[in-house]
Amino acid sequence: MTIAYDYKTRTSYTEDAAAQKAAHKVLLQHSFEPSLPERGYTNRTLHIDLSTLKVTEKAVTRQMKDIFVGGRGFGLWYLWNAITPTTKWNDPENDIVISPGPLAGNTAYAGSGKSIVVTLSPLTSIPVDSNVGGYFGPLLKFCGYDALEIQGKAASDVIVVIDGPKKTITIEEAPEENYDSHVAAEIFTHQFADNDKDFVNVGVVSAGKGADHARIGCLNFSWFDPKRGAVRLKQAGRGGIGLVFRDKKIKALVVHGGKMKGDLNQAADFARTTKVGRVLAKEIHDFDDQQCKMRSIGTAHLVEVMDAYDLLPVHNFQYGKHKDIDKIASTVWQKRFTQGIFDGCWYGCHMACAKGADCHKVMTGPYKGDVVTVDGPEYETAAGLGSNCGIFEPDWILESNFYCDTYGLDTISFGTCCAFAMECFQRGILNLERTGGLDLTWGNGASHVELLHQIARGEGFGLIVGQGVKYMQEYFAGKGWGDLPFMIDIGMQVKGMEYSQYMSKESLAQQGGYALTNKGPQHDEAWLIFMDMVNNQIPTFEDKAEALHYFPLFRTWFGLMGLCKLPWNDIEPADNAKHGKDAAKVPEHVQNYLELYAGITGNEMTNEELILQSEAVYNFQRVFNLRMGMGGRKSDWPPYRSVGPVTREEYESRAERYDKQLKELIGVDPAGKSVEEKMALHRTWREDRYNKLCDAVYARRGWTNNAIPTLETLKKFKIDFPEVVAVVKPHLG
């Protein structure tokens, strides 16, 4: 395809990089001996205390590998040991753990460059895990560490630099650099690379000025895109990790690795890994254009698909489709994304779905007039910043995508927060006086972006929006602006985290897929809408419970290993359909993962053992929630907006479907009944079904009827440590 513009044109921010580096003051320099992993593990981790400026190494024990495996598991274990039940997110002992997992960094199999970040979340007050691409995690591992832990708080803004070739770890005051991420990532990449060719060996983690003030703050992980000559960004988006990062006064984490090679993991059987990698690469090459078009559109291919199935969130999840869908459909994004260049966020990822919209001329704010590459939008961003807020103008979606990223704000949470605020505006809970003059009418892209600027400046109504839906519900109710039960019904959060961008009203399994999660309603645990609502292949509570056992655990495994989920099921073998109802599991790809695991670690494993590996960590995280004061059935209760129609307008938008359900499923003749009466009947029926789903899921997971893992369950997964049992016992009666 011909590119009709110069995709390499963009504003540069490195003019003063050398002078800014000269202003650094090294607070600590620590020498270390880099080492490569053996069979995926380096067997040591790095701990940095920013309060005491201490750097120490910890050995990875056999028990850690056997039970917690790596990635998310290591993060949870270290966090458990770092904090107490009374620790708050902004206490110095709160830990940020970044761990890439044993399979991360391999270049043989697509989607193998992930890091998992774990911390105590400001949004939820429980542990959060977030899976992110970019080069930091793999380069950290190839410097010699399976994980990086950061505790304490610096006295002033610092950067932490792990430099493999120089064999040093430094903590440096860095007073002058702008830390908005698209600037910071570029500056620090230039400062710590030896030369232009070395940019690819630098990974930067940063969070921008929005993360100074917002509980929806995220982290940006960089990677250098040599074709564009640009530093790109991927996000550890969920749970407010960016706010913890900035509260510790971290301006950036920088890792500088040595020269990349294909087998730095020193796999047990490298040929075995490349063999399965080649099979997947061929599938992507041969079939992606007929399947999801990930290479040309990324996950944004889903926008019109979700609309067609009435699953696209529109106007704060009230509706599932919109007449203007064509304005933000995948064809629009395909034209905005520069085509024909590699968009993989790690080496060897042929799926290459990290699409970039080049030459976006910034329309507002401190970077007005600059020309930037926008990383995305992915589906979640297009839906969250677009349809869910009634915004169907691609330029505004790109603008808010850019500012969310550079300010360090999660596009998913920000989209859901804005959608909630906009519905409050629609219903008179908010007005111009209460928003400080911001018109939050559906579709107002300019106001939407102004909220972001206010968050970054730490002022105005944006500052309130940036604290999340739960905070807004309580704040608005406290001011007497709205009815709290109604705002709880329409506010799309569970456990304090905002929903990601799928409508679950007509899929009971997905209602559980969101609300029964450990960290909050993020679809990376379970996405069952097609299986349940469209295919109708899991009709009973037991069927749904089985799906809510297998899929969350299978997906958990990606977070243990340092893998991306997308190559599992956004591409499939030509004959995958032969598996019928099991096709959704993509059995050949599951086998690939077992091969990859064995090839790298040298350990053979069955699919059942893979699930057991995840189940130990999953149950541990559930107990961890309990330890932090969150647990029991009540913590898994969804907002009614995700379960059924809250308002008359929602009911009427699907009146035929809902009336039919009344007649055929609830056994009530809708004739002669008011909308309010019919809504009440639906609510009773739907909430009863949700409770029955919980009963079935808890039983399948080996938990009590109040969502507490039993002692037998803890023992089965060998996590019956005394301190774990002590947390659970008081809840078992």
Partner: protein, 65 residues
């Protein structure tokens, strides 16, 4: 009448798999279609007729997320 993913649906003589997908607005590309338990090859949906009283399963893969 036929059954599509558990729902009853009007049928007419000569009805094809492609027609069913269009009526149901099943635009997702990663699907597997079975008619009375028999897998229908992709690329043949327009030529494949569905008999009356058929049980049609249109399995959508997961994707997303």
């Amino acid at each position: 009448m036929i059954t599509v993913n558990g729902d009853r649906m009007e049928w007419h003589d000569g009805m094809t798999v492609a027609e069913i997908l269009e009526i149901r607005n099943y635009i997702f590309r990663m699907i597997a279609v079975q008619v009375n338990g028999e897998l229908i090859k992709r690329g043949t949906y327009e030529q494949t007729s569905v008999p009356d009283e058929a049980d049609v399963q249109v399995i959508h893969m997961i994707s997303g997320g």
